[in-house]
């Protein structure tokens, strides 16, 4: 697959958008950004993405609502979503699981960790279910 994988980063804070865009572009991904849930849904309707990095804490439409609306769209039901949040509580991670997210990153994040997570989530999507390894080292 020669094309670069496409990631949409959604966060109401411009600094986070700038930072993630810089970090992930240098990882070889094609990055788009949105500063609200509304904007994100608009972009998702216009072009295909492989992964969405979604901030939970946004005004108006928060990450949970955006995720739910995204999942209600048949075209978007399989997009991998990784939630972003300052809280990092286990109950938030369990909630992410229930809502069909593929990952959860606690802010402030370590750059290497972000890149590694993104890589793992995208790799997991590409592999058909039967081929997944029995263990993942370096969790």
């Amino acid at each position: 697959m020669g094309d670069r994988q496409r990631i949409l980063v959604v966060d109401d804070q411009q600094e986070i958008l700038d930072l993630t865009e810089t970090v992930l572009s240098s990882g070889g991904y094609s990055i788009s950004t949105a500063s609200s849930g509304d904007e994100a849904l608009g972009q998702l309707a216009r072009e295909p993405f492989d992964l969405v990095l979604l901030d939970i804490n946004m005004p108006d439409m928060d990450g949970w609502e955006t995720l739910r609306l995204l999942r209600a769209d048949e075209q978007l039901v399989d997009v991998a979503v990784v939630m972003f949040s300052v809280k990092g509580e286990v109950s938030d991670k369990v909630h992410s699981l229930q809502e069909g997210a593929s990952g959860y990153i606690t802010k402030p994040f370590v750059i290497d960790e972000l890149v590694a997570r993104v890589k793992r989530v995208l790799e997991a999507r590409q592999r058909p279910a039967g081929d997944r390894p029995a263990s993942d080292s370096g969790a």
Partner: protein, 438 residues
């Protein structure tokens, strides 16, 4: 654009009631979840018009619609007046017949308590009586009456949030009480007779080191009479709470555990499920527990008390405080079902348990779920910071065991290693098991 428009209208039509313009319950899930981030509980008022079903069958749907429209108008008008601003009004469903009010604040912005909610119910009922004291509705037979009830909503990560909302709405509507009263009558007698007869036995399941497969100890699991509803502890304790006999049941369970433990191979730990209340010094409960332990012949230093995080209920602070107060130096402490209760990581850390037991729901399929592996990583990190160890429950496959071990969990429990068995069978198992060769 056309397609989007059509979809939008479709959504709108199933989410907003056309007659009253009110949103149906699901539209508020997100808002409620956000509100509960800042508060422990929200008040729920349930308003029902009876006998609306009868009215519709006698007088037709238009009359029904008129009534419902007027109720909606009256309730809307009370927001910001009799009811605090910021209260939310929903219908139980499109073309529904029950109204739900979510009240995030009581007077002065404090959390709404029962008195306030009960008063709000009365005020709402009065207002509705007045609104319908009108010629337009005078001829109705059966005449209308307004029933309102209240409950409190809190988020509990063990359940899907939507179902917490439905349960709170049901409770406010009183259906909850009616259903439970019926159940209690038929099952209460059965449970009481089990307790009177002491008909509880114990089976044991080993907790093993994930890498060496050596047995660290055994968890004592209570079992009610075989093939009955009460065979599992969960069903026994769910009903015992309501009947107020949880203390007796808890005591029965650990007495049975002590009796069975005497047949276990020596040197291993005994993981014992206890309710926090059994460890309280008040009413001599703690003393009773300690004396039963003393006369059992079980070595106190081998005991690990398991307390479930779910026991934290809606307000984790008292739970945390009580656990810290009863941390007895001789016993070790395990927090069970971590991640499915309300306590939160820093609260759990402050208790400094020796073990964190991860619920089976977070272990199932962990080798294929990056998110579950992330939860594991968080808990392993927490355990390391307090010098504790992580035990994974409900392990059913080698893949799960390997993922847990690689992720930093030290111990595990589950069908992969051994089924829960009678104490006599445990010795046989121990003789057959050999340490895993690398």
């Amino acid at each position: 654009m056309q397609r989007l428009r059509a979809q939008y209208l479709k959504m709108k039509s199933v989410l907003y009631d056309r007659v009253t313009g009110l949103p149906s319950l699901p539209l508020f899930f997100d808002k409620l979840r956000t509100l509960l981030d800042d508060r422990k509980e929200i008040g729920v008022l349930h308003v029902e018009v009876s006998d609306l079903e009868m009215v519709e069958s006698l007088y037709g749907w238009q009359v029904f619609d008129d009534i419902v429209a007027r109720v909606a108008e009256t309730l809307r008008g009370s927001l910001g007046r009799e009811l605090p601003t910021g209260s939310l009004l929903a219908l139980n469903g499109v073309a529904g017949d029950r109204f739900v009010l979510f009240v995030p604040e009581g007077p002065d912005g404090a959390e709404p308590n029962n008195e306030f909610l009960a008063a709000a119910c009365r005020v709402v009922s009065d207002k509705l009586e007045q609104a319908f004291d009108d010629e337009a509705f005078a001829g109705l037979n059966p005449s209308l009456c307004f029933r309102s009830g209240h409950a409190r909503l809190s988020a509990n990560p063990f359940y899907r949030f939507e179902r917490c909302v439905y349960a709170a709405v049901d409770e406010a509507g009183g259906d909850h009480e009616r259903r439970e009263r019926r159940r209690d009558l038929s099952w209460g007698e059965e449970l009481r007779s089990i307790i009177r007869a002491g008909d509880v036995r114990t089976v044991f399941q080993p907790v093993v080191d994930l890498r060496t497969r050596e047995v660290l100890g055994h968890e004592a699991l209570a079992r009610g009479p075989r093939d009955t509803l009460f065979e599992t502890p969960r069903s026994m304790f769910a009903l015992s709470e309501r009947l107020g006999v949880s203390q007796e049941l808890d005591r029965l369970c650990w007495e049975a555990a002590f009796a069975g433990a005497s047949e276990l191979p020596p040197g291993g730990k005994l993981f014992l499920n206890v309710r926090l209340e059994s460890l309280d010094s008040e009413n001599g409960r703690r003393e009773r527990f300690l004396s039963a332990l003393g006369s059992s012949g079980v070595e106190p230093s081998s005991v690990v008390l398991e307390v479930s995080e779910r026991g934290a209920g809606a307000d984790p602070d008292p739970f945390v405080r009580r656990l810290r107060a009863c941390k007895h130096e001789e016993f070790e402490l395990a927090i069970d079902d971590v991640g499915t209760g309300r306590a939160g990581l820093s609260a759990i850390a402050s208790i400094e348990p020796d073990y964190l037991k991860i619920d089976a729901s977070l272990v199932r399929g962990i080798h294929e779920s990056l998110l579950q592996q992330e939860v594991l990583a968080t808990l392993v990190q927490l355990a390391e910071s307090i010098d504790g160890a992580v035990i994974g429950e409900g392990i059913e496959s080698e893949a799960e065991a390997t993922t847990l071990a690689d992720g930093g969990a030290q111990y595990g429990q589950g069908h992969l290693f051994a089924m829960p068995t009678e104490p006599s069978a445990v010795r046989l198992q121990a003789a057959r098991r050999r340490p895993r060769e690398h």
